[in-house]
């Protein structure tokens, strides 16, 4: 065993130089963005294992276990059927198949809603983990996205059944569904990353999120036909509604799954907006999150 003398370097070299001479690097240095992407990629197995573990443990104490992943959207749809289909008997007007129209909006918006809410507390709620282990912190918001994406797959299966059961035909346009979901997932990934850093700095933001989400939901024509907006809004208000990314994704999904759906904007424009929003939100989210990478342990 080596003899250890007193702590000082003994050689009189400044510590910074000593570190540089032996190739030691500062633990607090921010990696470049490409290096960060490589780091996240290297930890992909951890991210998937962690999300799978989170899903198992969230249903761990229930009897039905992961069956709840499918049960939750079915129950959701049943509630909306009860209220809008049976009690209010919503029919006709602008939308011929209101139940399918409604469920598409509710399920898609629910995906974004849960990712936003869970993303905001993904850093703050995992401080113990962050202060114990070294891994790219983006793994936490990304695993939130993966968890919700898995729940979304279950919801989509339920949605397909509802849409077919309410008399819509199976068309070629259904092939576009994965593409829409991919755009939405990319958008949500950026949202989770952005929210994660915001929520780690401003813990008060969590109290405001429910209000923000509610305004966003009413602006996305989830519970009523989009014509409620387009019929009487003009100018910047209409522009604001039409640019709403969630409205874009929900409209595209409705258009692909159902016949005779009136849209607020032409389909080609919707597709461009869907792509631009996904790319924009993801870039903003990842850059904003990456710049804070080294500070998350401070709380």
């Amino acid at each position: 065993m080596p003899q250890t003398a007193v702590a000082d370097s003994g050689t009189g070299i400044p510590l910074k130089e000593l570190a540089a001479r032996h190739g030691l690097h500062s633990a607090a240095a921010l990696p470049s963005l490409p290096a960060y992407f490589r780091e996240i990629w290297a930890y992909r197995h951890f991210i998937t294992a962690y999300s799978a573990a989170r899903i198992t443990s969230s249903f761990g104490q229930t009897r039905l276990g992961t069956l709840w992943q499918v049960m939750t959207p079915i129950l959701n749809a049943a509630v909306y059927y009860l209220i809008f289909g049976v009690l209010l008997n919503t029919k006709g007007g602008d939308v011929s198949n209101f139940i399918a129209y409604l469920c598409t909006g509710v399920f898609l918006f629910g995906f974004t809603q849960t990712v936003t809410q869970a993303g905001i507390s993904s850093i703050h709620g995992n401080l113990g983990l962050i202060r114990a282990l070294h891994f790219p912190r983006a793994a936490l918001p990304i695993s939130i996205l993966l968890i919700e994406l898995r729940n979304m797959t279950a919801s989509m299966t339920v949605l397909f059944i509802i849409v077919l059961a309410t008399g819509e035909p199976l068309t070629v346009e259904w092939l576009l569904v994965p593409l829409i979901l991919a755009c939405l997932a990319t958008f949500n990934c950026g949202l989770a990353l952005f929210g994660a850093r915001l929520g780690s700095k401003l813990t008060d933001i969590r109290q405001l999120v429910p209000f923000f989400i509610r305004v966003w939901m009413y602006g996305s024509a989830v519970l009523y036909p989009v014509q409620r907006f387009t019929d009487h809004l003009h100018g910047w208000k209409l522009w604001l509604i039409e640019a709403n990314p969630m409205l874009v994704y929900i409209e595209l999904m409705r258009h692909s799954l159902m016949e005779n759906v009136k849209l607020a904007s032409p389909v080609s424009q919707l597709w461009i907006e869907a792509g631009v929003w996904a790319a924009l939100m993801f870039s903003v989210g990842i850059v904003y999150f990456w710049r804070g990478e080294k500070g998350y342990g401070r709380g």
Binding site: L24, L133, H134, R298
Partner: protein, 259 residues
Amino acid sequence: MADPTEERVPTVVVDDAHVVYKVHGSPASGTGSPIASLKRLVTRTKMANIREVHAIKGISFVAYKGEAIGLVGSNGSGKSTLLRAIAGLMPAERGAVYAAGQPSLLGVNAVLMNDLSGERNVMLGCLAMGMSPADAKAKVKEIVDFSGINERGEFSTMPMRTYSSGMAARLRFSISAAKKHDVLLIDEALATGDARFRRRSEQRIRDLRADAGTVFLVSHSDSTIRDTCERSIWLESGVIRADGPTEDVLKEYATFMSK
């Protein structure tokens, strides 16, 4: 015994590091009412429920390859925070911490999830340390065997919440010790196991050191420090009070504590 004339290779250099972290919640009494909060906002005084803790106040030292360094000090003296700063988990506010490779902290609350089985936790822990899935799978049995949690029946397939605190601590230590680290930071994990496991883990630390790593050990047990470390650093309120051979430092520390 290393040749004292041979140039020693530093693995961790801490250069006048200050660590500050924030604590949310736990407002002082009398500041909880909405009016008090509003008053704070208007008068722009500091938020009472966010407090800053200046845990490390300007520490400098160099650790060399093959050393095992014990960290001693009373509760709240900044030992755990110093380990986190070395691991890069809590960055230094001023000054700098340089390290070889990625120092790895054997913490008390790692990735482990209580609703999952021990085996799955081992797998998750290995992946979190950056192992490939194949390596991790190959290590699972070895880790479970080393931890000895299966000595009382098939505990490795049971959820972690059924484990005693000692068993959980043993499993966590075993996971961290499964990988070779350039710099291993251990935070009081050895105190939790029983006598047999403690002997085994001390042996494992010696093995890790033989692989030319550096080990930092935080412990309140003098005998653990004496058995594993020949150099010790005594921290008090975020500053170094003594740094040198374990016997001398522990003697000084004991005199201070008995006052």
